[in-house]
C-alpha cells in the first residue's frame, strides 16, 4: 500500500471538488490486506489472500451532501465521483444538515495500533496452528465426527481521510481471528458447536483453552429435551446476552430516534432498566483489543454511560443528528466502508459486573433456565417494538445446579421489559467481539421470561 499515493489522490480530489463547485468536501481512502486459511480433513482446504482499496467522497452544495465511491482510484474514478456526487446533491431534499468538520485543536489525528507481530502471520504458521487444532478437536471425544468449519484469518490496512476544512486523520490496526465449528453424533442425534478466538499475536493463541471451551459447548448439548411452556427465571450466558443486546443497540442511536424508529426517543434522563444495570461505551477501554480515539468525522470519542443504574443517560450522536437535537456529537459518527455514508456507530461496550460468580447465581435462583444460544436474531425480532420470539438452547437449572440441556424451545419477550427485569449481573465478565469493538459482559439474570416448549406433562421445572 503506497500511503503517499493515497494521501495525494484524496488531496487532489478535494481540490478538484472545490473547483467543480462543491462548497465543502471530504474524501477517505481505505485499503486493506487480508489472509484466511480453512482446514478440512487434515489439509489446508482453502487459502485466500486479498488486497483491496476504495475511495469514498462526499461533497456539499446548497446544504445537501451528495456521496459517491469508486474502487478505481484514477482520473476516471475521480471524474465519476465528482459528477455523480453533484447529481446526488441536486436530487436530495434532506431537511437535516450534514457537516464537514475540523476541530482546529485536533486537525491532525492519528491512531496507529499495529501489533508489530503481523509478519508472523504466514501461511505456514496459520496452517500449523489450524491443522493442530483440527486434529486435537477430533481427539477430544469419539462422539466428535468432524470439524465442518475451521478458519484462521488476519487483516490489516490503513484508512486516511482529508477534508476542505483542514482535517487529516489516519488510522491503522491489525487482527487475527480463529473460528471452529465441530459436529458430534450420539445415538443418531447430531449436535454442532463452535468457538472463536480474537487477538493480534498468533503466539498468544491459547490452544488448550480453546479446546476445552469448544468441548464444553458441544458435548454438553446431548441428552436434552424440551420443557413445559411457562414463565422461568433466566440466566443469560454473556455471549447470548450480547447477541440480544447488540440486536437492539441501534435503538440507542439518535438517528433511529429522530427517524421515529426507536422507542427511546425523548427518554434521556428516564428510568428504562433495573437499577442494577449499568452499561457504558468505553472507546479507549484498556482491556479492549481495539481503541477508538476519534470517529470517522474527526470528532474525539469519549467514555460515557448509556444506562447508569437504570437511567438512560444520553443517546449516541454524530454531527448531523446532534445538530438536529441541539446538542454536541458524542463522537459516534462512523462509516463502515469507503462506500458507506457516515452513520451512528458504537465501539466498546462495558456492562458493570455484579458480585456473584456463575455457580452462586445458579444457587441463588434455584430453579430456572440458563440460556446459552439465541438463534434467528435477524428474523425473530421486531427492532422497533422490542418484541422477540427466538429459538434458543441452554440448560435447565434445578435445585441450584445445571440439571440437563434444553432444546426445541423458544423464548418470547420484549427487549425493554427484559432490561427492567434484570435482577443481577454476575462477576464472570468475558469479552465478546461484536461490531467494530468488543462487549465486556457478565452473566445476566432476568426475573422471568416466557419460554415455549413442547413437553406437556413431565412435571419438570
Amino acid at each position: 500500500m503506497d500511503i503517499e499515493f493515497q494521501k495525494k489522490y484524496i488531496k487532489d480530489l478535494i481540490d478538484k471538488a472545490i473547483e467543480y463547485g462543491f462548497e465543502e468536501a471530504e474524501a477517505c481512502f481505505m485499503s486493506s490486506s487480508s489472509m484466511e486459511i480453512n482446514i478440512l480433513n487434515g489439509e489446508v482446504s482453502s487459502y485466500e489472500n486479498s488486497t483491496m482499496q476504495g475511495v469514498g467522497f462526499r461533497g456539499k452544495k446548497n446544504g445537501q451532501m451528495g456521496g459517491s465511491f469508486t474502487s478505481s482510484p484514477d482520473e476516471d474514478g475521480m471524474n465519476f465521483m465528482l459528477k455523480t456526487a453533484m447529481e446526488n446533491c441536486e436530487v436530495l431534499d434532506d431537511e437535516d444538515e450534514e457537516f464537514i468538520y475540523c476541530d482546529p485543536d485536533h486537525a491532525h489525528l492519528e491512531s496507529i495500533q499495529l501489533s508489530g507481530t503481523y509478519d508472523k502471520n504466514t501461511y505456514d504458521k496459520f496452517a500449523s496452528v489450524g491443522l493442530k487444532l483440527e486434529k486435537d478437536i477430533l481427539a477430544l471425544s469419539p462422539l466428535i465426527k468432524a470439524v465442518d468449519y475451521l478458519s484462521v484469518s488476519c487483516g490489516t490496512g490503513p484508512s486516511v481521510s482529508v477534508n476542505s476544512k483542514g482535517l487529516y486523520s489516519y488510522k491503522d490496526s491489525d487482527y487475527i481471528s480463529i473460528f471452529a465449528e465441530a459436529r458430534a453424533e450420539k445415538d443418531g442425534v447430531v449436535k454442532t458447536g463452535g468457538h472463536y478466538w480474537f487477538g493480534n499475536d498468533i503466539d498468544k493463541f491459547d490452544h488448550d483453552k480453546f479446546l476445552s471451551k469448544l468441548q464444553k459447548k458441544l458435548l454438553s448439548k446431548f441428552g436434552g429435551s424440551s420443557v413445559e411452556s411457562g414463565e422461568y427465571k433466566v440466566i443469560f450466558d454473556s455471549e447470548a446476552f450480547v447477541s440480544l443486546l447488540s440486536t437492539f443497540m441501534s435503538n440507542f442511536s439518535s438517528y433511529s430516534m429522530q427517524k421515529g424508529l426507536s422507542l427511546l426517543a425523548g427518554k434521556e434522563g428516564e428510568v428504562i432498566a433495573s437499577d442494577l444495570f449499568t452499561m457504558r461505551e468505553e472507546p479507549m477501554y484498556d482491556k479492549a483489543l481495539l481503541k477508538f480515539p476519534f470517529d470517522s468525522e474527526g470528532v474525539l470519542t469519549k467514555s460515557k454511560a448509556l444506562i447508569d443504574k437504570g437511567v438512560f443517560v444520553k443517546a449516541l450522536y454524530n454531527l448531523k443528528t446532534a445538530h438536529k437535537a441541539g446538542t454536541e456529537s458524542t463522537g459516534n459518527g462512523f462509516k463502515g466502508a469507503f462506500s458507506a455514508p457516515v452513520g451512528v456507530g458504537i465501539t466498546n461496550v462495558v456492562i458493570t459486573p455484579g458480585e456473584k460468580d456463575f455457580d452462586a447465581l445458579c444457587k441463588w435462583i434455584k430453579d430456572g433456565i440458563y440460556l446459552t444460544e439465541l438463534n434467528g436474531l435477524h428474523a425473530g425480532v421486531n427492532k422497533i417494538s422490542g418484541d422477540f420470539s427466538l429459538f434458543c438452547e441452554g440448560f435447565l437449572i434445578k435445585d441450584g445446579k445445571i440439571s440437563r440441556p434444553v432444546e426445541q424451545i423458544t423464548v418470547a419477550d420484549n427487549f425493554y421489559d427484559v432490561l427492567k427485569k434484570i435482577i443481577a449481573t454476575g462477576s464472570d465478565t468475558i469479552a465478546v467481539p461484536e461490531g467494530k469493538g468488543e462487549y465486556f459482559c457478565p452473566s445476566v439474570v432476568i426475573s422471568k421470561m416466557n419460554i415455549s416448549g413442547d413437553l406437556e406433562e413431565e412435571g419438570e421445572a
Binding site: Y47, N49, G77, V91, K191, G380, I384, Q408, S452
Partner: protein, 447 residues
C-alpha cells in the same frame, strides 16, 4: 498454472450501482458507485486457493497469481485448454435500461408510495421507500478453455410503513426485485402494494400475541417459500452435502418429503430476480428438480462440490462479488403447484395458525433445526381465518417439516430475497403455493 494447480480461473467483475431513499417524503439518501475487482482461483484436487484484488495493473495481477500458486499444496498440474471464443449471456430483459433513468424519476415513483402511506391512516406514522439498481458484468476464463461473459441488471424497491400506537410500533413491508428493465417499475401497482403494507402494519399493531405450542400451520404463498429455502434448500447444497455435514447427505432417490411435495431450483427464468444463465464459475445454469413427489432427485453441486462428491457440477457456483470464492448456491427455488384450492386448505383446518406473510429465518444445515418469524399471522378457528396475532415464530427440523406437509395449494407465487452464506449475499427468489404443515412448534407469548 505453474506448480501444483490442476485448475485455474480468473474472475473479473465490474458493478455499477445507484440508489435513492426517501423517508417520510424527503429524499434523504442518494448514492452512486463503481466497484471493480479480479479474483484468481486455483484448485488441486479439493484444495482451493483464492486471491483477489481491485488493483487493475498487470504487475498486481501477476504478483497475485504467483502468491496463489505458491500457496497451493498437493496437486499435479494439468493441461491448459485453448481459450474458446468469448460468449456473452444475460438473463435480464431490458426494454428500458434502469441505469439510464434519472434519479429524479426514481424519486417521483417512490414519493407516490411514501405520500400514499403517510396519508393512509393516522396510525401510520412513518413511511420509508427505497430504489436501487445495478449492472454487474462478470467475465470468467479458466484452464478448461471457458471464456464467458454475463451481464446482470437488477432493480429492487422497498416500501415500509410503520404504524404506531402508544409505545408500540409495527411494520408492513414489500421488497420486490426483478431482472427486467424500468418497464417493471412503470407497470408496478405501487399504490395497491403500499396499501397492503399499511393494512398489515395496522392489523399487527391491533393484534394480540400468538399462542405457543404445537399446532397445524398454513403458510401463505410467495415469500412463505423462505422456509423451504432455509430448511431444505441449504441442506441440499454441496457445500454441506459434499462434506457429509447435511441432514440430507446420501439421500438421493430416497423419500425426504411427503408425496405431495415437489420442488425445483430454476436459474433459467428470464427476467426473474434470482436468475443467471452463466454461473460465477462460467458454467451454464440449470433448471433442477430437487424433490419429485417427496423423493430427493438432485443436489446443488458446484465445481468444488463435484470434486468432493464425484459427480458433475450443476451450474450453481455463485458469489456475492469478487471478494468471495464461489460455492454452491440456490437461484429461484420453489415448491411446485399442488392440487388444492387454498380456500379448501383453510376450510379443512379446524384450529391452527395461518402465516399470511413470512419474515426471515435461519437454519443449522447439520441438524436441520430452523426458526422463522411470521410478519403477519392469523388464528384459524373452525375452518375460518379468525383474529390476527403477532410475534409468532415457527421452529422445528427441516427433515421433519417436509414430511409433515399434508396439503399443497395451486397458487404458486415467487418472491425476491437476499440469501447469505459463505460466498456472501446473493439475490435469490423463494416461492411456494399455500401449504399446510400438520404440526409445527409455534413460539408465541401466550400459553
Amino acid at each position: 498454472m505453474s506448480g501444483n494447480a490442476d485448475f485455474a480461473e480468473i474472475f473479473e467483475e465490474e458493478l455499477k450501482s445507484s440508489s435513492v431513499g426517501l423517508l417520510n417524503g424527503k429524499t434523504t439518501r442518494a448514492s452512486s458507485g463503481i466497484n471493480y475487482g479480479v479474483g484468481i482461483r486455483l484448485m488441486a484436487g479439493t484444495n482451493v486457493v483464492y486471491v483477489y484484488t481491485c488493483d487493475k495493473s498487470e504487475e498486481a495481477l501477476i504478483k497475485l497469481a504467483k502468491e496463489a500458486s505458491a500457496a497451493l499444496k498437493g496437486g499435479k498440474s494439468a493441461d491448459i485448454k485453448n481459450l474458446e471464443a468469448l460468449s456473452k449471456s444475460s438473463p435480464s430483459i431490458l426494454n428500458i435500461d434502469p441505469l439510464t433513468v434519472s434519479k429524479k424519476q426514481n424519486i417521483d415513483f417512490l414519493r407516490e408510495a411514501s405520500d400514499y402511506a403517510m396519508n393512509y391512516d393516522e396510525l401510520i406514522t412513518q413511511a420509508a421507500a427505497s430504489y436501487s439498481t445495478s449492472n454487474r458484468v462478470i467475465h470468467i476464463v479458466n484452464s478448461l478453455g471457458f471464456n464467458k461473459e454475463e451481464s446482470q441488471t437488477r432493480i429492487r424497491i422497498s416500501v415500509e410503513a410503520v404504524a404506531s400506537k402508544g409505545n408500540e410500533k409495527q411494520t408492513g413491508r414489500i421488497a420486490p426485485g426483478t431482472m427486467r428493465g424500468y418497464e417493471f417499475i412503470n407497470e408496478y401497482p405501487i399504490i395497491d402494494k403500499t396499501r397492503d403494507c399499511c393494512e398489515t402494519a395496522i392489523r399487527m399493531i391491533n393484534a394480540g400475541y400468538a399462542p405457543s405450542g404445537k399446532m397445524p400451520v398454513v403458510i401463505g404463498n410467495g415469500f412463505g417459500g423462505v422456509i423451504f429455502h432455509e430448511a431444505c434448500g441449504h441442506a441440499l447444497e454441496s457445500t454441506a452435502v459434499g462434506i457429509k455435514a447435511s441432514c440430507f447427505t446420501d439421500k438421493l432417490g430416497q423419500r425426504i418429503a411427503s408425496d405431495v411435495v415437489s420442488a425445483r431450483d430454476n436459474a433459467r427464468i428470464e427476467g426473474e430476480w434470482g436468475s443467471y444463465f452463466t454461473d460465477d464459475t462460467g458454467r451454464e445454469s440449470s433448471d433442477l428438480q430437487l424433490i419429485e413427489n417427496g423423493i430427493c432427485k438432485n443436489y446443488l453441486v458446484d465445481d468444488l462440490g463435484a470434486r468432493r462428491m464425484g459427480c458433475e457440477p450443476t451450474g450453481c457456483g455463485r458469489r456475492q462479488d469478487f471478494t468471495y470464492a464461489p460455492t454452491s448456491r440456490m437461484s429461484n427455488t420453489y415448491i411446485e403447484n399442488g392440487k388444492d384450492d387454498p380456500k379448501d386448505i383453510i376450510a379443512d383446518t379446524e384450529y391452527g395458525l395461518y402465516c399470511s406473510k413470512m419474515g426471515g429465518g435461519s437454519v443449522d444445515t447439520a441438524t436441520g433445526e430452523f426458526n422463522f418469524a411470521a410478519e403477519e399471522a392469523f388464528m384459524i378457528r373452525n375452518g375460518k381465518i379468525a383474529e390476527p396475532v403477532r410475534g409468532a415464530t415457527l421452529i422445528g427440523k427441516g427433515q421433519e417439516i417436509l414430511l409433515n406437509i399434508d396439503r399443497v395449494g395451486n397458487d404458486l407465487e415467487l418472491a425476491a430475497g437476499m440469501c447469505g452464506s459463505i460466498s456472501g449475499g446473493v439475490p435469490v427468489t423463494v416461492g411456494q403455493p399455500t401449504i399446510r404443515v400438520s404440526s409445527i412448534l409455534v413460539g408465541g407469548r401466550e400459553a
